[in-house]
Amino acid sequence: MTSVANEIHIRARERAPFSVMIILKSRWFLYAVSLTAFFLIWDYVAVSRILGSAMARPYEVAVQLNTMMTDPLAGKSLFGHIWASTQRILIGFAIGAALATPLGLLMALNRHISAVVKPLFDLIKPMPPIAWISIAILWFGIGEPSKVFIIVIGTFVPCLLNSYNGVRLIDPQLYDVVRMLGGNRGDEILHVCFPAAFPAIFAGLQISLSSAWSCVLAAELVSARSGLGFITLLGMTLSRPALILGGMVVIAVVAWVTTLLVTGLEKILCPWKRGVIDI
């Protein structure tokens, strides 16, 4: 007895025959090729002196990094410099975020506050935070406060924009639902505004963090005695390309680790955020 219903579905995946093309086209192989090419090109550029003497070989950079780990540079070891930059970022970021996020929320929730603050904010917004460096030095001197000030400015704008827009762009239907369930304005804010705006606020924090990184580097390049920007600047004044490149490698690694941490934190803190393709 046979029937259509008894048809057996073969779910085995069809395996393509093994061939060289598959290996050549596989992602990991290509990554490996690309990375090898990157270091070979780098090495070639350095050895052939296309850019004059202003390029160090990858090997020299590695040696330089190794020395920096043990020998102090300008009174601080490598980790001391990393900590100096991180500390500035953490202080500035905390102040900026603590000021801007509540202000953005208040602006979105109350139109009178928005009417007062928005025009002033629109005046400040188009100025890149780095343009504030000079005035910060005039105000606070070349010490720590001026650097923290720049970071606060760099953090402030994206934080405020994101928390403001995060609340404003909430789907109005969500409010209707809460109201239909008998909620008042307080419930609306507590159960709709905050959870719905949280992903946007968090995205704002992420943008602020990368902006804070740029700011701290710029501030350290202009004037500093410690920090990662200072290392690269020192490399420039001493004409030691290995030092500059070593500084850049450390910057890349630290920035990468920070991004990784923040992304992980986001997954824990707001799992309801809809998936957007990662890159």
């Binding site: 086209k25 596989s26 992602r27 192989f29 290509l30 990554y31 090729v33 690309s34 990375l35 990157f38 850019l51 004059g52 202003a54 390029m55 009178h112 009417a115 007062v116 603050v117 025009p119 002033l120 005046l123 400040i124 188009p126 100025m127 890149p128 935070p129 780095i130 343009a131 504030w132 460096i133 000079s134 005035i135 005039l138 105000w139 990368s210 990184w213 740029s214 580097l217 710029a218 390049l221 202009v222 990662l228 920007g229 690269t232 600047l233 490399g235 420039m236 390309p241 500059i244 490149l245 500084g247 850049m248 910057i251 890349a252 920035a255 990468w256 991004t259 957007v276 393709i277 890159i279």
Partner: protein
Amino acid sequence: MAYEEVKVKTPLALWILPILSVTLFFGVWQAIVDFGIVPETMLATPLEVIKLFIVKLTDPNPDGALLWRHAWTSIQEAFTGYILSLAVGIPLGLLMGWFVVAEGLARPFFEIIRPIPPIAWIPLTIFWFGIGISGKVFIIWLGGLVPCVINSFVGVRMTNPTLIQMARTYGATDWQIFTRICIPSALPMVFGALQIALAYCWTNLVAAELLAADTGLGYLITMGRRLAMPSMVVLGMIMVGLTGAVIGVIIDWVEKHLLAGIRR
């Protein structure tokens, strides 16, 4: 008419408050300097800034160039870097989104360069290119490149898979799917990148000019600090903000007209 339009009047308070707050801001600014709460060596009054603005239109002293020349230099540098970053970043991102080989080869390069803020490249570029225009264009190019690549990559990846499957069913080649389906569907994201990249370029321009330049708006700010002229610093900051805002508006306008037929 099934429904009639309801006009919501903006309450008077919401009209007055913004004007009041801006006036108050400038008033307080003028007052704290006038009454000596903040010393004149630290902050210039708005009136002084306007005065300096008028003077700088005709007088190249004390920083060596007229105001419009500073602005023009900056705009030139920013636009060269911006256009180059668009020309490289958008095709690269689109190709990376669709072709596995392109992604495999380009992505590690990109991932290595991405976390480094363009500002960190400044010492190296000064070494490589000197303090001329090419170094600054390089920094600006790096700044604009990252958002261009990311947005066009994500744009292609977000193409509706049904459309791709349909095209395959009708026998379209990979290249045809890429040009006829993926690119048009990525366009809104790509145009989104135009604004982001511009903002990045403009920020990095200021950073590049702060460190090494002989004309340009960033240089104007630095000179203001060196000459201890707060009015010049503030003028430079305002000019940077203003020019950036104007360029942003122009790009926005161009984008709207180019995209008139495309659903966003």
